[in-house]
C-alpha cells in the first residue's frame, strides 16, 4: 500500500480529499503521459502503418507501380509453402528451446537455491550469457562448430568433416543450443525468485511425513511454482518466437532453417517489397497475439504478475 493512497483513505470523502485526489489523478496521468505516448508511437502507430502497407502492391524497386492490392498480399503469403515452412521452423525452435530452458533453468535454480556450497559461483557464471551480445554468442557457437575454425569436430566421437551448417537438423540443433545458452539464465533467475517464495516449513512437514526429495519436488515445489513457471514460459515463448539474430549469423535461413522474422526481413529489406513484407509482419503479429491469448485465457497466466527482461 503506498503512502498517498493511505493518506487518502484516512482523509476519506470530504471535499478537501476529493480535491486532492483529483489533483493526484491529474499529476499521475501527466507523469505517465510521456512514456505512454512514446510507447504507443513506436508500436501501435507502426502496426497500423504496416496494415496499410500490407494492402498495397508496393515494391521500392518499382515505386511507380504502387497500387491498391486488397488482400492479395495475404493470399500470396498464406498460399506459399515457404511461409508455412518458416512458421513450422519458428514453432519448432521455440517449443524445443523453451522446453530445454525450462528443465535446465529449473535445475540451475535449484542449484542456486539448495547447493551446500558454490551458489555464488553458479550465479556468477549464469550471468555471463546475459551480458554477452546475442550476435557475439552466435558467432562464437558458429565458429565452434564450423569445420574451418571449430573445435567440435576435433572432439572424440565427432566426425572430423561433419558440416554442421550443411544440413537442416544439424544446423537447427546448433541454433537451438545457442538460444538455450543465451536465455536459460533469465529463466533460472525467474524460477529462483519463485522458489524463494515457497514456505520452508512445508518441506519440513513433508520430510517428517516421510516424503522423499523427488516427492517433495513434484508435490510441493512444482504445484506452488505453477504461476511463476507459466509467466516465465509465456515470456520466453513470445521471445523465442521472434528468433532472428542466431539464424541470421549462422545460416541466414539456408538449409530450410529460416524463421518468420528472417522471412519478414528478406521481403522488406533485401527485396524491398514493402507490401508483401508488411503482410508477413502483420501475420507474425497475429500469431503472437494468438500465443499470448492462449497463455492468458487457456492457461490462466496473470499478466500483472509477469515482467519483461528476456533477451
Amino acid at each position: 500500500m503506498n503512502a498517498a493512497a493511505g493518506r487518502l483513505r484516512l482523509g476519506g470523502g470530504g471535499p478537501a480529499a476529493t480535491e486532492r485526489s483529483r489533483e493526484e489523478r491529474r499529476l499521475g496521468w501527466m507523469l505517465c503521459a510521456p512514456a505512454v505516448v512514446a510507447m504507443l508511437l513506436v508500436t501501435a502507430y507502426p502496426i497500423f502503418y504496416a496494415i496499410a502497407l500490407s494492402l498495397q502492391n508496393l515494391d521500392l524497386r518499382f515505386p511507380d507501380q504502387t497500387s491498391w492490392a486488397g488482400l492479395t498480399n495475404y493470399k500470396t503469403v498464406l498460399t506459399s509453402s515457404l511461409w508455412w515452412t518458416d512458421v513450422f521452423n519458428t514453432a519448432f525452435i521455440t517449443a524445443v528451446s523453451v522446453t530445454i530452458e525450462l528443465v535446465l533453468g529449473m535445475a540451475i535454480a535449484l542449484v542456486m537455491y539448495r547447493a551446500i556450497f558454490g551458489r555464488g559461483i553458479v550465479r556468477t557464471s549464469v550471468l555471463i550469457p546475459y551480458g554477452v551480445v546475442t550476435v557475439v554468442a552466435a558467432f562464437a557457437w558458429f565458429f565452434a562448430f564450423d569445420p574451418a575454425s571449430g573445435f567440435v569436430n576435433h572432439l572424440p566421437l565427432v566426425p572430423d568433416d561433419k558440416a554442421w551448417f550443411g544440413g537442416r537438423w544439424s544446423a537447427m540443433s546448433v541454433i537451438i543450443m545457442a538460444e538455450v545458452w543465451k536465455t536459460t539464465p533469465f529463466m533460472a533467475l525467474l524460477l529462483l525468485a519463485g522458489l524463494t517464495t515457497i514456505d520452508a516449513g512445508l518441506y519440513e512437514a513433508a520430510k517428517v511425513d516421510g516424503a522423499n526429495a523427488v516427492q517433495r519436488f513434484f508435490r510441493i515445489t512444482l504445484p506452488l511454482m505453477k504461476p511463476a513457471i507459466l509467466v516465465a514460459l509465456l515470456f520466453r515463448t513470445l521471445d523465442a518466437f521472434r528468433i532472428f539474430d542466431n539464424i541470421f549469423i549462422m545460416t541466414r535461413g539456408a538449409q530450410n532453417t529460416e524463421s518468420v522474422s528472417i522471412l519478414g526481413y528478406n521481403q522488406i529489406i533485401s527485396r524491398t517489397n514493402l507490401g508483401l513484407g508488411s503482410a508477413v509482419s502483420v501475420l507474425i503479429f497475429i500469431l503472437v497475439l494468438i500465443i499470448a491469448f492462449v497463455f492468458v485465457r487457456v492457461l490462466g497466466v496473470r499478466m500483472a504478475e509477469g515482467r519483461p527482461g528476456a533477451t
Binding site: 505512454v36 574451418a148 539474430d245
Partner: protein, 282 residues
Amino acid sequence: MRHGSREYGFWSVGIALVLVFAMLPIVWIISLSLKSPATVGDGRFLPAGGNWTLDNYKTLFEGGFSGSPFIHPLINSIAIALISTVIAIVLAALAAYAIARLDFPGKTAILVGALAIAMFPQISTIGPLFDMWRSIGLYNTYPGLIIPYLTFSLPLAIYILVAFYREIPWDLEQAAQVDGATPFQAFRKVILPLAAPGTFTAAILVFIFCWNDFLFAITLTSSNASRTVPAALAFFTGSSQFTAPTGNIAAAAVIVTVPIIVFVLFFQRRIVAGLTAGAVKG
C-alpha cells in the same frame, strides 16, 4: 548440518557443468581472437607452443577513424546505447514514480500495456519504420535507432523502476520536512539516495538491451555512420579478400564482450535484483 562426501560430489559435478557451459563460447572466441590465419583451424583452445598473436586486434584499429572497420561502429554503439538509456530512464522514472506513489485510475492498465509492448514482435515495425525513416531522413541516423529502441527500453525500465520505487518508504520525505528540511532538501538528501540504486540497476539492464540489439541495427542503417557493433560484425569482410575474417570478428567480439561481462559480474547482486524485481508478486 553435516553433509556426506557423495552430496559434495553431486553438487561439484553440477556446478562444474554449469561453469563450463557458461564459459565455453567466451573462452573459444578469446582463443580464436589470438590465433593467426595459419592456426585458426587447429581446433585447439591453447595454441601449440604458445603461438599467440595480437594481429587480429591491431588490424581492427588500422586506418584510423575512417579506415578502421570497427572504431566507428564502436563509438556508435556506445553513444546510441547511452542516449537511449538516458531517455528511457527519464521517461520511465516519471511514470514509475507516479505508479508507485500516486493513486489514479489506469495505472494497472499502463503496467499491463507496458508488458504487452515488451512482448511485441519487433519485426512487425520494421517495414513502416524503414519506409518512414527514408522519407523523413531518419534512415541511417542515431535518432533512427534511438526511437525504435524505446519499444523495449521503456517497458523494461518502467517495470524495474516501479518494483524498486514501491519499496521506498516515501513517508521519510514528509518526516524530513517536518524536521525542517525544505522540499528540495528532503528530496535530495532522503529520497534520492534511496531511489538511486534501483534507478542505476534499471539503467544497466536497459543499456545491455540496447547494446544487444541487432534487428533494428541492420534494418535501419546502411553504413558505418550509424551502424552499431552487432550489425557491423555481420558485414565484416576481413583485412584481405582471401582470408576469412574469423580472427577479426573474434577480436571485435572480445572487445565488446569483456567489458560488459566485467561490469555485469561487478554489479551482479543488483542485476539479479533488477531481473527478478516484480517477478514475484509483492
